[in-house]
């Protein structure tokens, strides 16, 4: 490692030691441990707020974003060191949000200078929480058929329509929405990507209760909602390009769920089911299923790593995000099925502390949200295998 990087590591380590509160160095176990930011967010502790403020001040909530918009301005190598040093002391992420995962990268790529100046620093500091308005009641897999209307009223845009599956919209401050700005054009060509302040009478939200008993999603209604004239990102009627770019990020995010830092299922099953005198999981069929699951999990994580390295080396294809989304979500569903098998009747308890049942039911959405498994297979057929008519 170069001297500069070594120096960066030393400084980072010292700074984290000094500035990361002790309470923020324990694993996240319940939903409220995660800091989503935004005007309506209630910090669960002073330490959570302090940690966010300190990290945001350095731009380290988004280490690689440019400094001019409040980001950390770190190189890839430096960001890797920061991540490793945070992992070393088991520091929690100071902030997670759709702004970081989805809108930010799209604004950096397609936003105007004014849009970047206005919105990115607030994402970095966790001041504004964003929601995503894509799907509609009649536009699910066929997203480009969306009908939410957006009219140019001279000094503002007027929006009417309904979005659905808007994640955490009831806790969000702003929403990025796909709207139809040219009803005469072909379906992909009349769509715009617009930023809307939710703090106005024309925007209302209603949570949807899911089979898991939780309500992570909402319906969001637009009744004569207004947006500024400079609120369209990436150009009028050019919203599909931005949407597709952002979907790639969303797919990567969803495919990553269920891998990584979780406790291996073999360990969980060994504890729950017990081992026989030869040290084998007492249920031989579950043992085989769990072993296959772990092998697939290892292979899948190696694949995410490989695609990342290939992208860095300028190889590979962007369409592989569809493959990861397809494989990762199907795998996660299987994993939770096995978790239920292993947990037995304890897992069937409704509202239990660990609540495996809620997680299990939640995973069923993984292969629907962000494009169904079938849609991902269509993308692979068309863009990678280049099959006709796909």
């Amino acid at each position: 490692m170069s001297d500069d990087l070594e120096k960066f590591r030393e400084e980072t380590r010292a700074w984290l030691e000094e500035n990361c509160p002790e309470e923020m160095r324990t694993p996240m176990s319940v939903d409220t441990n995660a800091c989503w930011g935004g005007k309506k967010f209630k910090f669960e502790s002073d330490a959570q707020k302090l940690w966010l403020d300190r990290m945001a001040e350095r731009g380290w909530t988004v280490p690689e974003w440019p400094k001019e918009y409040g980001g950390g301005g770190l190189s890839k190598a430096e960001a890797k060191i920061l991540a490793a040093e945070m992992k070393r002391i088991k520091a929690r992420p100071p902030l997670i949000s759709f702004g970081i995962w989805m809108l930010g990268p799209a604004l950096l790529k397609y936003g105007s200078e004014e849009q970047k100046q206005e919105h990115i620093p607030k994402i970095v500091r966790g001041e504004i929480r964003w929601a995503q308005g894509y799907s509609e009641p009649n536009s699910g897999s066929d997203l480009a058929s969306l009908q939410t209307k957006c009219e140019d009223k001279g000094d503002h845009y007027l929006i009417n329509g309904q979005k659905v599956w808007t994640s955490y919209a009831d806790e969000a401050d702003w929403i990025f929405v796909l709207v139809r700005t040219d009803p005469e054009a072909k379906k992909h060509e009349g769509i715009s990507f617009i930023l809307v302040d939710m703090d106005q009478p024309g925007v209302t939200t209603k949570p949807i209760k899911l089979i898991s008993g939780k309500s992570p999603f909402c319906e969001t209604f637009f009744d004569d909602a207004k947006a500024e004239k400079d609120a369209i990102v990436g150009g009028l009627n050019k919203g599909w390009t931005v949407a597709k770019y952002l979907l790639t990020h969303e797919r990567e995010m969803i495919s990553g769920m269920g891998s990584g830092s979780m406790r291996p299922i073999g360990d969980i099953a060994a504890q729950q089911i017990g081992l026989d005198e030869q040290g084998r999981l007492a249920d031989p069929i579950l043992r085989a299923d769990v072993a296959r699951m772990e092998i697939d999990g290892l292979a899948f994580m190696a694949t995410m790593e490989r695609f990342k390295d290939e992208a860095k080396a300028g190889q590979g294809t962007g369409a592989n995000s569809s493959m990861l989304k397809y494989y990762g979500t199907e795998l996660n569903k299987k994993r939770l099925e096995l978790m239920m098998d292993s947990a037995g009747s304890d897992g069937l308890e409704w509202g239990a502390e660990e609540d495996v049942a809620a997680q299990w039911l939640r995973t069923k959405a993984n292969s629907i949200e962000g494009g169904t498994s079938e849609v991902q297979l269509n993308v692979i057929s068309k863009r990678i295998l280049e099959l006709p008519g796909a």
Binding site: A270, L385, A390
Partner: protein
């Protein structure tokens, strides 16, 4: 370690692809099968491979090898999987070389490694004694006789056993059948008195042999590694072969998909190219996904073999289990998607399902390695 090939590896892969496509394509395997020869591979082609350094791919330079490591060795195996090239590559260049290089005495290395790297000596690993792979189930006995040993027993499913110039044989010097302790590895010249090899013609048109050891007398110099301590080295030798076969199966699976997708773009039924049908698109795309995931775990296993071979067992079993399953899926799906023509001997796709079946079974099938994975993980 980055999960991308470096420049040297890219060049090797291109070279291997070029050579094998031209000199040893599937049609060569077909003519080997139809000619009824007993070797099961083409010696001229093997000589050309050795000239390119492939036989010495993991042999150190001091013993005339090219020392490119297991990841490179896997790249060659993967390309051989695409062309179904029959050769003693896995048993000799990967397993034989690993055995001698890591566990051979100075004399054994000096005698065998340069010959092996030059393509002049073939090796085989004689481990199994029953129909299923079980490396600790060793009934073959090695009794002490004078300063040496006397071997008696029978080994089955010995890949390249009838063509090898020397065999690496596991035999019991101590303990009961099934014990990991008390196994010793011997380097047994093919022409030893009392050793006989019966070549079996296999479903993949390549050879495996049953080896009979009828009081084969060996000096103490024939021991490879430590007396009674042969099991752990055997695992490393087998892991090298398993990782190589996983890479080979990855190549075969990729080729099955390529050929199938080409066919889907060409065949017409109901007035349409059949690749337009979503039922077939989704089968092919699912297969693509499985193959991509398989490639990554193979790469990890080979990298582990390079970095920490004694620790590679878990990842190697993951790779062998996964690829056993993926390559069989690929071979089966490619026949289904080819339809009737896929069932004909005249068409090449049927060669893949046959070879993959054998490669999957060799040194432990997917079930064996799934079980072994669970054991190594402690559940």
């Amino acid at each position: 370690m980055a999960m991308v090939l470096n420049e040297e590896q890219e060049m090797l892969k291109d070279m291997a692809k070029g050579f094998l496509t031209e000199k040893a394509p599937v049609s060569q395997l077909r003519s080997l099968r139809d000619s009824g020869g007993t070797d099961g591979f083409d010696r001229g082609t093997w000589g050309a491979m050795a000239e390119m350094g492939w036989a010495g791919v993991v042999v150190p330079e001091e013993h005339d090898g090219v020392a490119m490591g297991y990841q490179a060795a896997g790249l060659i195996a993967e390309e051989m999987g695409r062309t179904l090239t029959a050769s003693p590559y896995v048993s000799t260049a990967i397993m034989g070389a690993t055995a001698l290089n890591k566990y051979g005495s100075a004399d054994q290395k000096n005698e065998w490694l340069p010959k092996l790297a030059a393509g002049g000596a073939l090796m085989a690993v004689a481990v199994d004694e029953a129909r299923k792979h079980a490396p600790s189930s060793v009934a073959t006995k090695a009794e002490r006789a004078g300063n040496g040993f006397k071997l008696s027993g029978e080994k089955s499913f010995v890949a390249d056993g009838s063509v090898a110039d020397a065999l690496i044989v596991s035999a019991r010097t101590e303990g009961a059948e099934g014990d990991e302790d008390g196994i010793t590895l011997f380097l047994v010249p093919r022409d030893s008195a009392g050793l006989s090899a019966e070549a079996k013609s296999m479903v993949d048109s390549r050879n495996a042999a049953t080896i009979k050891l009828d009081g084969v007398e060996l000096t103490a110099d024939a021991v490879l590694g430590e007396v009674d301590g042969g099991y752990q080295p055997l695992e490393v030798i087998l892991n090298a072969g398993r990782a190589g076969l996983a890479a080979e199966m990855s190549g075969s699976a990729q080729e099955c998909l390529t050929r199938t997708v080409d066919y889907l773009k060409e065949r017409k039924q109901f007035g349409r190219t059949i690749g337009e049908f979503q039922a077939l698109q989704h089968r092919a795309s699912h297969l693509y996904s499985e193959i991509e995931v398989g490639k990554s775990v193979v790469m990890k296993a080979l990298q582990m073999m390079d970095q920490a071979p004694e620790m590679a067992g878990l990842m190697v079993s993951a790779a062998k289990a996964k690829l056993g399953q993926v390559a069989q899926l690929a071979a089966q799906e490619s026949i289904q998607m080819h339809g009737g023509i896929g069932m004909t001997d005249e068409f090449d796709i049927g060669f893949f399902i046959k070879r993959v079946r054998v490669a999957e079974a060799l040194y432990g099938d997917a079930n064996f390695h799934t079980e072994r994975y669970a054991r190594l993980r402690g559940f």
